[in-house]
């Protein structure tokens, strides 16, 4: 019984920083100038502009996640086959940039793309929507790659080696072993990696603001602008936040569906 007390700080924390902000979001979405109304909510949902931006955000988040997965899987696979001490050292190298503030890292990328490239190579990179979108993708992949590598590495390094030997004994070649044994067994890692990259990517707004200067404009930027607007943006911003919240919850639920054993450490 006594042990329950240790959970209280955590419960207080959850109420203060998860439940209370949620209540505020709903309050602001339906309470305009002290009056309860669904008018703003309906108006915002009916506005097609926001849905176009949401689609764009989903697209960018999806591409980021896909690239991260394609890059991270081989890295994690190679790491898991290395000697433990070497692998530990290399994974520290992956972590080191994450000790530095996210905004600073993004700003460093801005300096590289905006100033270093034109100076050194005479090529201007950030000139239109397409080039800016590619630049945003590169920076997002850079920022989120460790979140994909680590869960994958965890799962792959825990893989029972005798299963691989059994597969070879039964006549499967390397490729078949990988697709029939390794890949299915690493699904929990993939799922948790996807969750950890997709959700921050869909809510991202600093990268687009600092690298793309409004090109592309993502859902996070729109929400930020609403809260910063001089009049009544709180209702619209909160409604948009609710929509985003629903998207995040749906994608988490889908992901959890694939990870029945909760091996990758699920979020919801």
């Amino acid at each position: 019984m006594k042990r329950k007390y240790f959970a209280y700080p955590y419960i207080v924390w959850m109420i203060l920083f998860i439940a209370v902000p949620m209540i505020f979001i709903f309050y602001y979405a339906f309470n305009v100038d002290g009056r309860w109304t669904t008018e703003r909510f309906v108006q915002t949902i009916a506005n097609g502009d926001y849905w176009i931006v949401l689609l764009k955000s989903v697209e960018i988040a999806f591409i980021t996640t896909a690239i991260c997965l394609l890059l991270a899987y081989p890295i994690a696979y190679i790491l898991s086959n290395m000697k433990k001490s070497v692998a530990a050292f290399i994974s520290v190298l992956f972590f080191v940039p994450m000790w530095m503030n996210f905004v600073l890292r993004t700003y460093a990328w801005y300096a590289i793309l905006e100033f270093a490239f034109p100076k050194l190579l005479g090529v201007k990179l950030l000139t239109n929507s397409t080039s800016n979108t590619i630049a945003v993708l590169v920076v997002m992949v850079y920022d989120f790659l460790p979140f994909m590598v680590l869960p994958l590495y965890n799962t792959l390094s825990k893989l029972d080696r005798s299963l691989l030997e059994a597969s070879r004994d039964l006549g499967a070649n390397g490729v078949t072993t990988f697709f029939r044994v390794v890949l299915p067994l690493s699904v929990p890692g993939i799922v948790s990696g996807i969750t950890m990259v997709f959700i921050p990517a869909i809510t991202a707004f600093t990268v687009t603001a600092m690298i793309g200067h409004g090109k592309p404009n993502l859902y996070g930027n729109v929400i930020e602008k609403q809260f910063k607007s001089t009049s009544g943006g709180f209702a619209t911003g909160s409604t948009l936040a609710i929509i985003l919240l629903i998207c995040v919850m749906v994608s988490t639920l889908i992901m959890n569906h694939f990870d029945k054993d909760k091996e990758g450490g699920s979020i919801l």
């Binding site: 502009d49 926001y50 176009i52 931006v53 764009k56 801005y110 905006e114 100033f115 034109p118 201007k124 950030l126 000139t127 239109n128 929507s129 800016n132 793309g212 200067h213 409004g214 090109k215 404009n217 930027n221 729109v222 602008k225 809260f227 910063k228 607007s229 001089t230 009049s231 009544g232 943006g233």
Partner: protein
């Protein structure tokens, strides 16, 4: 042993940092209107734009009055309003722009200034007072801090034709090399001017026309920027930027290939005024700071540091001709004649915000 040496070195380092706290020398030239500052004490929370004051002046003010100044920076009027509206807002003094002051007066966020505590207000140019009366009648709540225009900063080595119209921002030749300002009022405002409309229009069709014009421009621009445009223009990365006059002057000072103009269709003249919040705690110190910054010598020092134009006549008399004879810093009357102030639009601003959403989502 080693441990103790480390600790000792750390202590020495911390002490030497503490000893580094600057003191500003005061002599007979420091103040134009005499050293009239008494000890006030307490704290003063100031909310101002980034890089918008000479930090030495704040230290000097602290020295003179014993007030501890907590100086916080913001990047837009919108951000400032958000900070001020939050429940725990404890700012005493801030520096919003014209149309925001109008809105703040309407929303009863400000307290009237006690002019008996600001004798140095006499230094402010009556011409400037007259313009600021356009948004704060009788300067009941605010006194001008800095002012300027909005125009086009361009690189003469990259732009061949003479620039005299906003139309250059729609020229295909400069595709990908045009900076627009990341603010709905400024960007839609200059487009309204280009189309020959009023910058404060409340006509939905006119706003829609400006919106469509900006959507048409979307593939040509590099992006919407604020402070980062300065570095980019100084480095000669881009050809054109819609920018405030003070920033333009600063950029030209660093890179003489740049030039700034206020287009012939007209533009915006803006004022950033100092105001005291209704719930200010240290009202005495807030008045003292406004008085201090309006001292002729202090205002001159401040404007020399930040390059924005001062409305202070006594300061103008002290400034180097490099400033006073510069047409960006001190625009001639004919430029001012084609510029207008932004006004608070009330709820109509939502039409602007909706248009802005459409433009930025392209």
């Amino acid at each position: 042993m080693k441990k103790w040496i480390c600790i000792a070195l750390t202590v020495v380092m911390i002490l030497s940092f503490a000893a580094c706290k600057k003191t500003i020398k005061v002599d007979e030239d420091t103040f134009a209107d005499g050293d009239q500052y008494e000890y006030i004490g307490g704290e003063l929370n100031v909310l101002n734009w980034g890089e918008y004051i000479d930090p030495d002046l704040l230290t000097l003010f602290e020295q003179e009055t014993g007030v501890k100044v907590n100086y916080i920076e913001m990047t837009s009027n919108e951000e400032m309003l958000m900070k001020l509206r939050s429940a725990d807002s404890s700012y005493d003094i801030c520096v919003p722009s014209d149309y925001i002051i109008e809105q703040m007066i309407r929303e009863d966020m400000l307290q009237p200034l006690d002019m008996s505590k600001i004798p140095n207000a006499k230094n402010i140019d009556p011409k400037m007072i007259e313009i600021t009366n356009g948004f704060d009648p009788g300067n009941k709540y605010s006194l001008p801090y800095m002012w300027g225009t909005v125009g086009i900063l361009y690189n003469t080595t990259m732009v061949d034709e003479p620039v005299d119209s906003w139309g250059i921002l729609w020229n295909e030749k400069y595709k990908g090399s045009i900076w627009m300002y990341d603010s709905p009022r400024d960007t839609i405002g200059v487009t309204l001017k280009y189309l020959g409309y009023d910058m404060n229009t409340r006509n939905e069709d006119e706003v829609a026309a400006a919106r469509d014009k900006l959507i048409e421009q979307a593939p040509l621009i590099k992006g919407f920027g604020t402070d980062e445009m300065r570095q980019s223009m100084i480095e000669g990365n881009e050809a054109l930027a819609v920018i405030y006059s003070g920033d333009a002057f600063l950029c030209i000072d660093e890179n003489p290939e740049l030039t700034y103009i206020v287009p012939k269709e007209g533009s915006n003249v803006w004022f950033d005024n100092m105001v005291i919040m209704k719930n200010a705690k240290n009202v005495e110190a807030a008045h003292a700071l406004i008085n201090f910054l309006n001292d002729g010598a202090i205002a001159a020092r401040n404007t020399e540091y930040i390059y924005y134009s001062t409305p202070n006549k006594a300061a103008m008399e002290r400034l180097d001709p490099y400033f006073t004879e510069n047409e960006i810093y001190n625009p001639p009357q004919e430029v001012l004649d084609r510029c207008e102030l932004f006004h608070d639009l009330g709820d109509f601003v939502e039409i602007y915000n909706a248009a802005w959403n459409k433009i930025t989502s392209k």
